[in-house]
């Protein structure tokens, strides 16, 4: 059951992306890639960019993109969340692209957006400097202006960069307030983190007097908007994962026999599945509402927190419930259940945990 309120165009987009991902990244292949036994074929992202227009989905047509809305991006991210496909859809086409749109500085953004839309380069959003800060604060990173050019010095961490992006979008303090800059990968020191999520790499970077392009200075409002959008987009991906896990547990509950009965006929199991459905459908409303409000240019401070809380919680709960419905088999390395469990706990903490978003909500509501 899906109560999604979707237009025909969105249904068509969702279907096309689903077909592509199911054919290219079935879960056993994702599992092998996660185990380092197989690699994503070279050029796959460029192919996805050119074939389906995924890389430039929300990039305006004048820069070679599809000009789709954030609502459509949310729908595509749900499909990536469902399949755990190891392509930089969230990291580059969403998180790495949205800052250019928010800063709306066409002269500066043009070459970046064109390369991103073509799928020949990827970007990554690098705002965090330390754990347990939401919204991310600029602790030590500074930008210095020398005539027309800027340099940045500092470090960033917990970056989703799919194993290495071509550009990093960093926040840094300037005398005019916080600024948003782009630095090239050649100018940063990159270190892999040991990520719990086996299907998505994370890194930290440091940079010293690295050449930087300013997207915006005195940019507190843009920075806030970027983080709200990041929370909203991650929530869409989480929703797709939670939905996949609900299907996985229900399929198993319909097939597994114990005590001479299909286990899904026991109310104990049935109610676990029903509770997950209740949470998933509520999270769907929250995620799609936030993405649509963002697309309409509304203030999404509250909606973004709502979506991130609802989707983080259902994804974490569902992935645990799924393992319990499966029993021992669900706890094995070979079963894909843990890949989703890991993704759930990772995204739970990124871009504001439910605890952090609840506090942000109350502040946003004036309490």
């Amino acid at each position: 059951m899906c109560m999604s309120v979707m237009t025909q165009e969105r249904e068509a987009l969702k279907g096309a992306v689903a077909d592509y991902l199911d054919a290219t990244f079935p879960i056993d292949k994702v599992h092998r890639i996660a185990n380092g036994k197989e690699d994503v074929s070279a050029g796959e992202w460029t192919k996805a960019a050119q074939g389906l227009g995924l890389a430039g989905l929300v990039i305006p047509e004048e820069f070679g993109g599809q000009g789709a809305s954030l609502g459509e991006l949310g729908v595509v991210l749900q499909e990536f969340g469902r399949t755990l496909a190891p392509l930089p859809m969230l990291s580059s086409a969403a998180l790495g692209t949205v800052p250019f749109l928010v800063c709306d500085n066409a002269n500066v953004s043009k070459p970046y957006l064109e390369a991103l839309a073509a799928g020949t380069a990827t970007a990554a959003l690098a705002l965090s400097e330390a754990a347990n800060q939401w919204p991310a604060t600029i602790n030590t990173t500074v930008a210095t202006q020398n005539g027309d050019t800027w340099t940045v010095t500092g470090s960033k961490t917990f970056i989703l960069d799919n194993g290495g992006a071509d550009f990093y979008i960093v926040s840094a303090s300037t005398p005019q307030g916080p600024g948003i800059f782009v630095v090239n990968s050649a100018d940063v020191q990159r270190t892999d983190l040991n990520a719990m999520d086996l299907t998505r790499k994370q890194s930290s970077i440091s940079f010293n007097n690295a050449k930087a392009t300013a997207l915006a200075v005195n940019a507190q409002s843009q920075l806030t908007q970027i983080q709200n959008l990041a929370a909203t987009l991650v929530a869409s991906e989480q929703l797709g994962g939670a939905d996949a896990i609900l299907k996985m547990m229900v399929e198993y509950a319909k097939m597994r026999v114990q005590f001479g009965r299909i286990i899904g006929s026991f109310q104990a199991i049935k109610h676990m599945c029903a509770n997950t459905l209740v949470e998933v459908e509520q999270a769907r409303g929250a995620a799609e509402d936030a993405a649509d409000r963002a697309a309409q240019g509304e203030d999404i401070t509250l909606s973004a927190s709502l979506a991130k809380i609802a989707c983080s919680e259902v994804f974490s709960d569902a992935t645990l419930t799924n393992i319990r419905v499966h029993g021992g088999i669900g706890y094995t390395w070979e079963h894909p259940a843990h890949l989703y469990f890991r993704r759930a706990r990772s995204t739970n903490a990124l871009f504001g945990s439910p605890v952090q978003h609840r506090e942000a909500l109350l502040v946003g509501l004036g309490y």
Binding site: L277, A286, H357, R358
Partner: protein, 415 residues
Amino acid sequence: MTTAIETPAELEEFRVKVRDWFSSNAQREDAQAGGEAGEVEAGETEDFLVVARNFQNKLYDSGLSGLAWPKEYGGQSLTMNHQRVFNEEASGYVMPSTPFMVTLGMCAPTILQYGTEEQRKRHIGPMLRGDEIWCQLFSEPGAGSDVAGLTTKAVRDGDEWVINGQKVWTSGAHYSNFGLIVTRTNPDVPKHKGITMFIVDMKAPGVTVRPLRQMSGASGFNEVFFDNVRLPATALVGEVDQGWTAAIGTLMNERVSIGAGGGGLGRGTGTVQFDRLAELATHTGAITDPVTRNELATIWVKERTLAILGDRMRASLKSGNAPGPEGSIAKLAGSELGSRVADMAMDLLAESGQAWTNDDEESLRWATNLLGSPGGAIAGGTPEIMRNILGERSLGLPKEPQLDRDMPFKEIRAN
């Protein structure tokens, strides 16, 4: 979903009309003592009924009732977007709608879907105008979660039907003009296959309504006795022995209505419960306590997600889809929220939640709310029954082995 045929300008014009109407005909919520936290208990006095009926009459006469209902039956044939605009503008105003929840949220959709043309023409307009209040006569002392186990009999006698038996937990029976009743018409076939639905005039000879007192002290529902009540052939809704299908339709509408609040009247864009709790927490000083803040924010999240879910469900219903098991989602989430709100208020009030002075209306209101909350979870089907419905109908999981499914009704073990 987008069946919108209105233009933005028309919608804006409609918004202005609704706004003007509310500002001159309705009261702001904060101006009213008591308010929604105590609404479980509202709608039970004669005064409240008069207020509600007058309000609904005015709403209808101004063309603002039954917005998305067909024009030929007294509705406005407007779109879901009009309904959404109406809800947005109505938010923050007192809507004395409780007595019409069963009528508009459950009975009217059933008549629209399963009634005869004559029944639709005769009843839906007066229901939308608030001139007819209806109740649903489903549950019986021996048929609660298992409603299909009902034993109230309907026997054909010439052109008429004769009803004998007892119904229970009937909200609003004491002020209703009509009731939608399900009866046993064939005990020789399995239980779901011998049930028939009728419209019953609540003032007909042989109908006796006795109020029941709830644990909260209020009397919102009743037991209703039928002693040789004679119904004309035109009272039949749908086919003889096929009433279970219509009953399921009514129950699904009920869950949407209870869960999402407001039924056919449609509301629920705000975060009223959160606002009241936040105010209370500010007043007691607990607003700076991290545990309180965490719980408060959780209630805001649950209230908002439920409101969004309700909007989406109503959008789906009003665009012509029959209610599905989604109502069970709203009902489950709604009753869980209700309990959570009541519990949090008690935590904030501490000792004053359990004993209060005469002038302490706040404590009275929250205590009443707490005592009403278990009823909210049971009405319209317990949480466990909701989870069975979702597991079986939405997710396709198999039923528990059933002993009575294919047995003639008269052979089934009963209370």
